[in-house]
């Protein structure tokens, strides 16, 4: 690279005065001139020019320095010290000035490089998980935390697994209460599973006892889609079979699950019920998280937790109730009962154990099933089941990747 041509600088002397290394005054003057030129340099280019003029090979001080070698002994030593000091002073001044000017230049560059980073960008748009899947994972994590295993099963299922193995007799009214989709022709014995419970039978046949499993999955019933029903929905099933398991253990698991899924302080209750595959059987209710079991909410707050402004229909409803301000209005989440039905459960019917080759006199167990859509409704304030099934991206985007 060719040497850059030095810019003309105000203190560049086109005809430098010769300086003698033995003449202290001349040296001092040259140093003083150099220092003032360095100090006067307004930018790095000027500083470079000044450094060359006063410290470069052809500068008076450098030229004088070269003459030292020709001097006689004592004078040589003295001149050497003098010139060394002079050149160090100049070099230091240059370095100091350079540091100052570089800092100034860097600061100026940063100012010119400033950007408005508040201008929004979307270079890598993020998607979202479906909240039902996220909630299922949360429930799964609860069970794996207990040491249970997560299993899955097929959606199109043999009638034998869906009904017979679970003690639904061929003509028992309970078989009708399930509103089953049959695969054509019905004689082929295939159905869209009406619950995740057939996996109970599969798991017992596959693994025997002891067994602690949770089974998430999609299930099907012939209900028309509306705000509170969907023909395709999600269940999580639990099954534990071991020696010495009791209904108290069932209750222990349900209570812990309620706390894990719905939060600290959630309580459950069991009500007698009937399911062919459990005996004794129970419905499990959870205390309504919206009204905290009181059955009433403050006027205008009749919606689920975390909900926004009331809908037009609610405004309408709240004007109809004519309650004086301050008094509660019925909680719509639980129908003002204070409890929400959360699922069915019970002790595994000995018939089910026998059909799966497990000895009911040695082993006992419990099973339960819980609806994820319903849970999402009262847990996250979803008001309309259709939002969960229609796949509108605006719905899922509210959840992102956490539910």
């Amino acid at each position: 690279m060719p040497d850059p041509t030095p810019e003309p600088a105000p203190n560049r002397d086109p005809d430098p005065v010769a300086v003698s290394p033995t003449d202290a005054e001349q040296v001092e003057a040259a140093v003083a001139e150099a220092l003032s030129a360095v100090a006067a340099a307004g930018d790095l280019d000027e500083l470079t020019a000044a450094a060359r003029a006063h410290g470069g090979d052809r500068s008076p001080l450098s030229l004088a320095n070269r003459e030292i070698g020709a001097l006689p002994g004592p004078a040589k030593a003295e001149a050497g010290r003098r010139m060394g000091q002079a050149r160090r002073d100049v070099a230091e001044a240059v370095a100091e000035r350079r540091a100052v000017l570089e800092a100034e230049r860097d600061a100026a560059v940063l100012v010119t490089e400033a950007q408005d980073l508040t201008q929004p960008t979307s270079r890598r748009p993020r998607g979202a998980r479906h909240p039902l899947g996220l909630l299922v994972e949360e429930v799964e994590d609860f069970f794996t935390g207990l040491g249970w295993t997560v299993l899955e099963g097929p959606e199109v299922e043999a009638e034998w697994f869906n009904f017979d193995a679970l003690n639904f007799g061929p003509d028992h009214p309970a078989r009708q209460m399930q509103d089953t989709f049959f695969v054509d022709p019905p004689e082929d014995g295939l159905v869209l599973r009406t619950h995740t419970s057939p996996v109970q039978a599969r798991a017992l046949l596959d693994h025997g006892a002891p067994l602690y499993v949770a089974v998430p999955g999609r299930v099907f019933r012939t209900d028309e889609l509306d705000a509170t029903h969907t023909p395709v929905f999600t269940q999580v099933e639990g099954l534990a079979v071991d020696e010495h398991l009791t209904m108290a253990n069932l209750r222990g698991v349900l209570d812990a699950m309620a706390v894990a899924v719905l939060g600290e302080g959630t309580t459950t209750r069991l009500r007698p019920a009937f399911f062919p595959f459990t005996e004794p059987s129970a419905e499990m209710d959870v205390r309504c998280p919206v009204c905290a079991g009181t059955g009433e909410v403050a006027p205008g707050a009749a919606r689920g937790a975390g909900a926004g402004a009331p809908s037009a229909a609610e405004e309408d409803a709240s004007t109809r109730t004519e309650d004086p301000a301050g008094e509660g209005v019925p909680c719509r989440t639980c129908g003002s009962t204070g409890w929400i039905e959360w699922g069915g459960c019970g002790m595994v019917n000995p018939h089910v154990l026998r059909a799966a080759g497990v000895d009911p006199e040695r082993y006992s167990g419990f099973a339960f099933g819980m609806g994820i859509e319903r849970t999402l409704m009262f847990r996250n304030g979803v008001e309309d089941m259709r939002d969960m099934v229609e796949g509108d991206v605006r719905f899922s985007r509210q959840f992102g990747t956490e539910v």
Binding site: T121, R123, R124, P125, G127, R129, G133, E137, T144, T149, V150, L151, E152, V156, A158, W160, P170, D171, H172, P173, F181, F182, D184, P185, E187, D188, G189, L190, L192, A203, L205, H207, P210, Y212, R218, T222, D242, L245, T246, A248, N249, R251, G252, V253, R269, L270, R271, P272, F274, E279, P280, E283, M347, H351, R354, A355, V389, G391, V393, S396
Partner: protein, 867 residues
């Protein structure tokens, strides 16, 4: 089952202070879920009034209203406008005064109408919630009969008419048929209040008995084809009542109870049978004796036999249907046993002699007939769940008594009673069994007493003398359940009774421990498969896709819209026999078939840029599928049976599919953004493999619907995996024809992969190689190839030629133009070379580059650009 609180209180002790909600709460405790509470929705001043004057006033609109003066027990009569005409001066009526609120929130106020101020309303049955049909204004003596005697103007009509009585509706589970009666609910209510049934419950059939001798109408049980070996009728009774006055109405209180329970009043004979059914749970049928030829024969229907049932429908009978017949050898069917009577022998407004049938039919036989004829009835609902076969004669007697009391006539001395109650099972209940299953240490005497409350006979057990002289008997009770509980068959059933009567709220909460190794052999936690699917769902969400879950139901025409060839396997779909929407009977064989609808729904709602993903299973039935057998359940099925059941379940692989339309990078101040294209689909497909740790390669595939033939790749497992070469799915742009048939945004791109191959290839924990700290050497090469040579082939050749020193290769430029010639293109690659044990020399690097280029030249005909 709907029960008025006042009726319930007649058979069981209801707390006098209890509201209907309290009664429902008591029933919930023992397992009868509340379905609703109704009635009692009349409030305010509703009083008895006497019509003093009623002046007809014709109106311009053609109607004639009446301007009435009504004495309501006040100093002055009130003026009331009324449009009805079925009452006259002097009649006692019901008047709602201003301030009253009628059912439906209908508030009464004085209002100006037809030129008068109407100071109240003269009420009809419907307006007071007393009946469905608006049969005009209530005239109290007509409605109440003798009960109206003594009523005076100003009396509270709410009390007189029982308008404050409320009705509790409960859901009866299939195991508790006896709760389809006031009798059953009364017993359960006593259990719910933990009262002693011996004092708190008054069983309506106790102390009621029919006459002993046979009646004039015989009954023959002639079931030649029992279902599953059980005769269709266990017990049938017939009783004749003669000389009933057909003009006598059903008493007001009885009709009122029927309406409250949701049963329509018809005639005295029918109303009485329905009333007794509601009271004790025994369905009864009344025949017109004159139209019934001789006695009753119970038999299966004959081939080709037809019967017109009470609802007027003529039905073709099935040989399995159990019928009641009359005539010689039961020649004529006169009713579907346990389901519905026939029209030919129906009681009418002229019937004077009645034959009452009370019977117990087999639950399965009735269930099948009701289902076969789509004829669920109040009777079939009870028979399906089991009717108490010890009370048949008593129930008949209750009906006879009511008929005679309110219709006159005389009951025949004899009762024909054929068949007998079933043998009750004796259930051995080990003393420790309730504690073993429930986890509550019930005292033995508590268990015994609770079972006795239920109605069981309990013998043996602790302290009981052992008839055989051994010690074993004291370890278990022998329990015989009551006749109304045919559902109690095994020890666990009895344990439920103990637990529910003692109260489920007494069961403690004890979290069990699943010790390692007890979760099931070879199990524990999330399976690697489940974890992988989670990672995938998360990665795709982070890559910009929004997860949805569509219904699996599709229309057959969808395969055409997708452009699937006639012989495409995806056209072989399972059909739902009873689809929700007739036009969508098939189960999807691909996720895209239903996912496109979700895309269209989103764009239809105004979304411009949509990227959707679904993870779900599809159903791929085998071409030659066999029916699923249904082995017995008394024990584990044989290995063969089990295998056959499992084999009949179709293959349902987990798929992932995505559709993208609009901008991949949205328009903004930085630029116009970037419209989604087929490469986005390919990249996402490759990402799926990457996330699951199985590398995929994209290979051009021109023949896969619904994709654009020139913009579609097949994804195959790359070399280095045991499944190398396996087809995983496809990605690319959808064919324009499919896009327009499905009404999707132009240039929609998609992918669908079968995850089963990938999930089957999940490697264990990845093995890590040492990371080289020696410097990298970069080499660029530009190669010219024929336009038809895929870039992937060139890249593969470079990799192979470069050998192990190649760290990475990346396509950095594609050039088409004059400089490389027609039908040729230049592909520039950047190679990164590095050794794990030394610094590469320039000569080594050059050598690797040459070797790479040589292989590319050999395999793809590539020529170094500029060479």
């Amino acid at each position: 089952m709907r029960v008025p609180v006042s009726w319930l209180a007649e058979v069981t002790d209801v707390d006098p202070a209890a509201s209907a909600e309290d009664v429902a709460a008591v029933l919930v405790r023992v397992g009868l879920e509340e379905e609703g509470i109704s009635g009692g929705d009349v409030a305010g001043p509703v009083v008895v009034g006497r019509v003093l004057t009623a002046e007809p006033e014709p109106q311009k609109n053609g109607k004639t209203i009446r301007w009435c003066s009504v004495d309501v027990g006040e100093a002055e009569p009130r003026g009331i406008v009324c449009g009805a005409h079925n009452f006259g001066v002097g009649d006692l009526v019901v008047v709602s005064l201003p301030g009253a609120v009628l059912p439906g929130g209908f508030a009464i106020a004085a209002r100006k109408t037809y030129g008068h101020v109407s100071d109240g309303m003269i009420c009809s049955s419907a307006e007071l919630g007393l009946g469905q049909d608006a049969d005009g204004i209530i005239v109290l003596p007509e409605l109440l009969g003798a009960a109206a005697e003594g009523a005076r103007p100003g009396d509270d009509a709410k009390a007189l008419l029982g308008l404050e009585d409320r009705v509790v509706e409960v859901n009866v589970t299939p195991d508790r048929g006896y709760c389809f009666s006031v009798r059953g609910l009364g017993r359960e209510h006593a259990h719910g209040r933990q009262l002693d049934v011996a004092t708190a419950f008054r069983d309506p059939v106790v102390g009621v008995a029919g006459p002993a001798g046979p009646g004039s109408r015989g009954v023959v049980l002639a079931d030649e084809r029992p279902v599953d070996g059980r005769p269709g009728a266990r017990r049938v009774t017939a009783r004749v009542v003669r000389g009933v006055d057909p003009g006598r109405p059903t008493p007001w209180w009885l009709r009122r109870r029927l309406v409250q329970a949701g049963v329509r009043p018809v005639s005295l004979a029918v109303d009485v049978t329905n009333y007794v059914m509601l009271l004790v749970g025994q369905p009864l049928h009344a025949y017109d004796a004159e139209r019934l030829d001789g006695g009753l024969t119970v038999r299966r229907a004959r081939e080709g036999e037809r019967l017109t049932t009470l609802d007027g429908v003529e039905r073709a009978l099935h040989p399995e249907d159990l019928v009641i017949a009359d005539g010689e050898d039961g020649a004529r069917a006169v009713g579907l046993a346990g389901v519905m009577g026939g029209a030919s022998t129906e009681v009418s407004s002229s019937t004077r002699d009645v034959v009452l049938e009370a019977a117990v039919f087999d639950p399965v036989s009735v269930a099948r007939t009701a289902r076969r004829h789509r004829l669920p009835s109040e009777a079939s609902r009870r028979f399906e769940r089991g009717v108490d076969d010890a009370m048949t004669a008593a129930a008949s007697q209750l009906a006879v008594d009511l008929l005679v009391e309110h219709g006159g006539g005389t009951a025949e001395e004899g009762l024909t009673d054929v068949g007998a109650p079933a043998e009750r099972p004796t259930i051995a209940l080990p003393v420790g069994e309730p504690a073993r299953l429930v986890g509550v240490d019930y005292a033995p005497e508590r268990v015994r007493s609770l079972l006795e409350q239920v109605g069981c006979a309990v013998s043996g057990g602790p302290g009981a003398p052992d008839p055989t002289g051994g010690a074993a008997a004291s370890d278990a009770w022998s329990v015989v359940p009551p006749s109304w509980r045919p559902d109690l068959l095994q020890a666990a059933d009895l344990v439920e009774e103990v637990a529910r009567l003692d109260g489920y709220d007494r069961i403690p909460s004890v979290l069990p421990r699943a010790l390692p190794g007890t979760a099931g052999a070879g199990l524990g936690g999330l399976s690697p498969r489940r974890r992988a699917v989670r990672s995938l769902a998360r990665a795709l969400a982070e890559a910009g896709l929004v997860e949805v879950a569509s219904y699996p139901f599709v229309a057959p025409e969808r395969a055409d819209a997708l452009g699937l060839p006639e012989d495409d396997d995806r056209r072989r779909a399972l059909r739902v026999a009873n689809p929700l929407r007739e036009e969508e009977p098939l189960l999807r064989t691909s996720l895209l078939a239903t996912l496109v609808d979700v895309l269209r729904r989103n764009t239809g709602r105004g979304a411009d840029d949509v990227a959707l993903v679904e993870l779900g299973s599809v159903v791929l039935p085998a071409a030659d599928r066999a029916p699923a057998p249904r082995p017995g359940t008394a024990e584990r099925p044989s290995a063969q049976e089990e295998a056959a059941v499992r084999a009949a379940v179709p293959h349902q692989p987990l798929h992932v599919a995505a559709v993208l339309a609009g901008a991949r990078v949205p328009r903004g101040w930085e630029g116009k953004g970037r419209v989604v294209d087929a490469r986005d689909a390919v990249e996402l497909a490759l990402l799926v493999g990457e996330v699951l740790g199985v590398s995929l390669e994209a290979v051009a595939d021109p023949g896969r619907a619904p994709f654009h033939p020139g913009r579609c790749v097949a994804l195959r497992v790359a070399e280095g995996s045991p499944a190398a070469g396996s087809l995983v799915g496809h990605a690319g742009e959808l064919a324009p024809r499919a896009v327009s048939a499905l009404e999707l945004p132009a240039r929609t791109v998609a992918l669908e992969l079968d995850l089963e191959v990938l999930l089957g290839e999940l490697a264990g924990p990845p093995r890590a190689a040492a990371v080289s700290t020696y410097p990298v050497v970069k080499q660029d090469v530009a190669l010219v190839v024929d336009a038809g040579v895929p870039a992937r082939d060139v890249e593969r050749a470079l990799r192979r030629g470069a050998g192990p020193l190649l760290e990475d290769v990346r396509l950095v430029d594609v050039y088409v133009g004059e400089q490389v010639g027609e039908d040729r293109r230049s592909l520039a690659f950047s190679l990164r070379l590095r050794a794990h044990d030394r610094t590469l020399t320039a000569a080594e690097a050059a050598q690797v580059r040459e070797a790479a280029v040589a292989t590319a030249a050999q395999v793809t005909g590539a020529v170094l650009r500029g060479a």
